[in-house]
Symmetry: C2
Subunit: 361 residues, 2 copies
């Protein structure tokens, strides 16, 4: 195996992603298949892969990507049922810990894991630490939408079940920064999720957050559209939807579940009669286009925001296509220097007291 450090230190334009081979529902072969796809598509991409060396070496050799992958041996695996508190105490020696270590020591720009979300967030917090000025890191995802950019950003979708008004302001700042970098929107429109758009609706902390987010729109470089509703998550009223992790997680899973039910009913509808089976053959290209647009695997990857380093959480059930999508997102964020920009943005927010407008990021 080549030393990837040479690549990174040489400033050759290569991008190194640290990938956890373990902890996903489909095992390391799927992860290796995913990174092999990514490696083929992005010639400047290299990987540090974490997990049991003998097994990973075989899988990597089978895909013929030995020169793009450096393997870091890790004996243990964080399971889906492990509690975050246990993993924080006993996580050393796991592939997840090792994956974050490569970001912590600067060898890789971004980490990717499809392991246990709670454990990954807990380990990320103790190993990478929170950015100064951030109380609760958040998980942001891209959601298919009616907007021209095709996706909206929503956060938090489950890093923390609580969020006070200050946390929601930080989510607005971080989400806007993410939308600028991932969706190329110079001045994203931020909406605060509530049960109605009228100002008197909803919980007290939302009214407080409304004022904070509105007051910071200029130095945060976003527009604030005020309260938005669940229907606006896939809509075009705003580009960034801000909410607490309890509500965001349930909205995300409700949307996924609804899309999946409709997909299955559509399949049933087309299998119903000989005529409809012919129709489905004729419509195959159209349906594939639709599926590509709303396929959750294509937008696989929640991003942990608010840490010293970027972590992409892939869906636990991701297949090779899903893993490749998560790696692609990691690659784009690494290449754009997103991590540094976000840190600068949050730092400037922490200097709120001085009220100095700051236009970078």
């Amino acid at each position: 195996m080549t030393s990837l450090k040479d690549h990174t230190t040489a400033g050759s334009g290569r991008v190194v992603i640290s990938v956890d081979a373990m902890g996903g529902d489909r095992g390391p072969a799927t992860v290796v298949a995913g990174i092999a796809d990514s490696a083929a598509k992005n010639p400047e991409l290299d990987f540090i892969l974490h997990g049991p060396e003998p097994e990973l070496a075989k899988l990597v050799a089978k895909k013929g990507i030995q020169d793009r992958v450096q393997i870091r041996h890790a004996e243990n695996v964080v399971n889906m049922t492990d509690k975050p508190s246990q993993v924080m105490r006993n996580g050393k020696g796991t592939s997840m810990w090792s994956t974050l270590e490569s970001v912590r020591n600067g060898e890789a720009k971004v980490a990717v894991s499809c392991g246990n979300t709670g454990a990954l967030m807990a380990l990320s917090m103790i190993r990478l630490r929170k950015l100064p000025g951030v109380d609760r890191p958040a998980i942001a995802i891209l959601w298919p939408s009616r907007n021209p950019q095709g996706f909206n950003v929503m956060l938090d979708v489950g890093a923390d079940i609580r969020a006070d008004a200050q946390d929601l302001l930080q989510y607005a700042l971080m989400g806007a920064s993410y939308a600028r970098n991932a969706l190329d929107l110079p001045r994203p429109r931020v909406g605060l999720l509530n049960v109605g758009t009228e100002e008197h609706k909803g919980r007290a902390e939302l009214h407080e957050a409304w004022k904070l987010i509105d007051a910071r729109k200029d130095d945060g470089m976003y527009d604030f559209v005020g309260f938005v509703e669940g229907g606006d998550i896939p809509g075009k009223a705003c580009d960034v939807i801000v909410t607490d992790g309890f509500t965001g997680n349930i909205a995300l899973k409700t949307g996924e579940g609804t899309a999946s039910l409709i997909g299955d009913l559509l399949k049933e509808a087309f299998a119903y009669s000989p005529l409809s089976r012919i129709a489905s053959l004729l419509a195959l290209t159209s349906l594939k286009r639709l599926k590509k647009r709303i396929d959750p695997r294509r937008v696989n990857g929640g991003v942990f925001l608010g840490l010293n380093g970027t972590v992409v959480k892939s869906h636990g059930a991701a297949d090779a296509t899903g893993i490749a999508a998560a790696v692609k997102l990691a690659y784009e964020l690494a290449r754009s220097g997103f991590g540094d920009r976000l840190a600068a943005r949050v730092a400037s927010a922490a200097e709120l007291a001085q009220d100095t407008p700051n236009q970078k990021d």
Copy 2:
């Protein structure tokens, strides 16, 4: 116009529904078109219709349903932007107030309105009053699902943004009762919405509610499957999803928004090329079947539970098909004697202290 009172007191098997003609986005002509559809389909159905008499009389005559509809004049209308507190003070003389009055005085079994939800709930609480033992009434809806019955019940979807553990227990009891009557499930399976199915996940009040709901499953005549996630709302893990009104409202609107986005993308996909347009013609029957299955208009109608009387809240934007669906739901609930059964169920729950198992409803 005939006196509908004769019908009800005569015990002729006729069912009288009180309908608010005003307050919907599309105006009274749509409401009258909807009840005309319902009247044609259900010969034993009669209506008391509330709103400005001269206008309504014309619309009713145009549809030729004068002998099925009694008009109650009401000068004023509750608007979508009116605050519930204002309506509670000044609502007398509105069509909404009058609509509830017919249920309050026993002339009609169930009320239907497509007006402002907050105002309708506020007026329902002061005019019909809460059932003894109920602290927070809830709005329950039917959600297309993978279960054999085709729908799941979810509550609360927005009556109250707060719910403590005791409220969630009442929602479980009321939701199970509704599922028994509306979906014909003798022993519905209840799930408590959370961000994960593991017992340690989520907020403290959910852990408390878990214990309360589990303890009451036998006298509540339901099974308790424990915590469920957003993906289970359209799923088959349970039949009744219990949550607070903030989370439920956002989940509902997220699901509706996602379904609507997919529907539009599907139309686009089929309009894309001549071949796909031919395909869509061939697939028309299949697609219509699918649309009927997931069309929100077909399951239009949130039901207010926990009051002395049943109120069906139709979507504000409902067209005639949507109004007819809400009336159909009202009709079925009136005919099954649901209101009395629910009252008995909640009363038996209020006697929890005695721990007397009670098997009726």
